[in-house]
């Protein structure tokens, strides 16, 4: 019984991690109906940059966020503004294929620059575990959970209370109407993508500290991110939180039931199941 409780708590913490790694994807999808195929690679970029800052310049990764977040924001803004924005007129496949192209380019850039070897971000505190009575939880996972709550709350407030946030929501609800109201929808899209990339910078840091990463690892994070988005219902920040928790729980409990080798498989099967039976997500509206 104790072991299952521990697995549940693990699952919740893991869920927090997944929330952070999926939040950018969810935002972009909710606003632009674009599944950012390059999302995994953006996460990895955050991880690689944080790692480089640590190993080459000795900058603590969390401090390094001051650099990686703006950098990734700028990159995301450019990607959307210069390339993806132009493709929406060609239908839904074109932006997706372009994002696919980006992801291919990125993966190979990473391999060329940093080799295919696995990396992780190790600091003096990254391996510590905290005693929760029932179990020892990796400190980083707790940090990830806290980050998830902060980011979700922050994003929610941003979208609800600021003018830009409201503009984003307007563009998400109806681009044409927003345009008529004087909102530069293309600029809003670029901004949204940039924010998504910036969040991915944080997610990437957590990926690097909690797990290790290789250039080809982006796909799994893309898939898990999409699982979170689909589970939580499209375009809902709170839904993303719920979806992440559900994913974390099913992975953790699945690992307990079938063994850790099968945990990713369980997650994917849950995904295919939900997609088939309830495509609007567990919390979405049809």
């Amino acid at each position: 019984m104790d072991a299952w409780l521990a697995a549940t708590i693990s699952g919740i913490l893991l869920g927090g991690f997944y929330v952070v790694s999926a939040l950018g994807l969810s935002l972009v999808f909710g606003v632009m109906r674009l599944v950012n195929i390059a999302h995994g690679e953006l996460l990895l970029l955050g991880a690689y940059l944080s790692s480089v800052l640590l190993t080459t310049y000795g900058v603590d990764p969390f401090l390094g966020l001051l650099v990686t977040i703006p950098l990734l924001f700028a990159l995301g803004y450019a990607m959307q503004g210069l390339v993806l924005n132009r493709l929406f007129v060609h239908g839904t496949e074109a932006p997706m294929l372009a994002a696919f192209g980006f992801s291919v380019v990125a993966q190979n850039l990473y391999t060329l620059t940093w080799t295919g070897n696995a990396r992780s971000i190790k600091t003096s505190y990254s391996d510590r575990a905290i005693d929760l009575g029932l179990m020892h939880a990796p400190q980083m996972l707790l940090v990830a959970f806290a980050a998830a709550l902060l980011l979700v709350l922050g994003l929610h407030l941003f979208l609800q209370r600021t003018m830009t946030g409201k503009a984003i929501r307007a563009a998400a609800q109806s681009p044409q109407t927003a345009e008529v109201m004087g909102i530069n929808v293309k600029r809003i899209y670029a901004l949204t993508y940039g924010i998504g990339a910036a969040i991915a910078a944080v997610g990437g840091l957590l990926v690097g500290m909690v797990f290790s990463f290789v250039p080809s690892g982006g796909v799994l994070y893309l898939l898990k991110g999409f699982i979170v988005v689909v589970l939580g219902g499209m375009g809902s920040v709170g839904g993303t939180l719920a979806g992440g928790l559900v994913l974390g729980l099913s992975e953790s409990l699945g690992a307990k039931a079938f063994g850790t080798g099968y945990k990713d498989l369980v997650a994917l099967l849950v995904f295919l199941l939900v997609l088939t039976l309830r495509p609007q997500g567990l919390f979405g509206r049809k």
Partner: protein, 334 residues
Amino acid sequence: MDSNEAALAPAGPRVGQRLRPRLGSLLLVLAVLFLLAAPQVVSRYGVFLLFTGLLYLALAYSWNLVGGYCGLVSLGHAAFLGAGAYTSTLLLIHLSLPLPLALLGGATAAAVLSVIVSPPLFRLRGIYFTVGTLALAEALRLWMIAWPVTGGAQGLTVPHEVVPDRVAMYYTALLVAAVAVAIVVLTVRSKIGMALRAIRDNEDAACNLGVSSRKAKLTALVLSSFIAGLVGAVWSVELGRVEPYSMFNLTWTILMVNMVIIGGSGTLGGPVVGVVFVVALSHYLADYASLQVLITGLLVIAVVLFAPGGVWGALRRAPGWGGRLLARARGGGD
């Protein structure tokens, strides 16, 4: 063009119009003759390049059928490749089947897989479908790693004795490519082909007009997966082993998608251009595998931005002799 026909053809502009399709078919015949004679006239390395190119061609046609003609962008086609490779290897190891049967077995297994996954997969539209295929390929890969029967992360080795020599492998690839092209061309030019294009353009409207969308999509997917499975099986024999990383690798899918998009999706000539390009790139940048894929990725972005019809599409629209030659020669496609 033989002299009889030239003598009988009426003079004037009509001569030119009869000339172009003939030229296209002539080129095609020459190409086929060259391919048939290749092992005699080309170096070993050249034969290997052609071998690879022919398998890529089959793959490109396979993906094009579903992605180009039907608009179902599949990023998980590696699943079918892997299914074919693993099944064929298992058949060779455990049942000692003769090679051709094992290859066909692999292809059939891939087709069966597609039938099994089609009910859930086809309920997904657009982007959901694409991510669903990604999930499928990834799930299969993880399953192969976890399952002892399939050798886990180490994979399985193809029994030595079964692997034929280079020339036989080459002709096998040629046969596979021929079969793939034949299947796709016949399908595209049939009623199913029209149904696929109708579904691509607007699935709901097509259904309203009486097109059985499920049947058409399923046919396309089954045929496409059959070809992909066949290629996977052949490739596994060439490599001598199967393991989850290489067989279900996204790189295969990337290759397929890139070849078709760059060459021109939804056309019969596009994949050929894409294949030639990719093989040439692999030759000139042989030491820089990552760079090769990077360049194709950049080209995909460029194509999507500036030339959605791919190289083939751009050429067909080109003014003047070149464009009209291409437009008439390969009459099928768009």
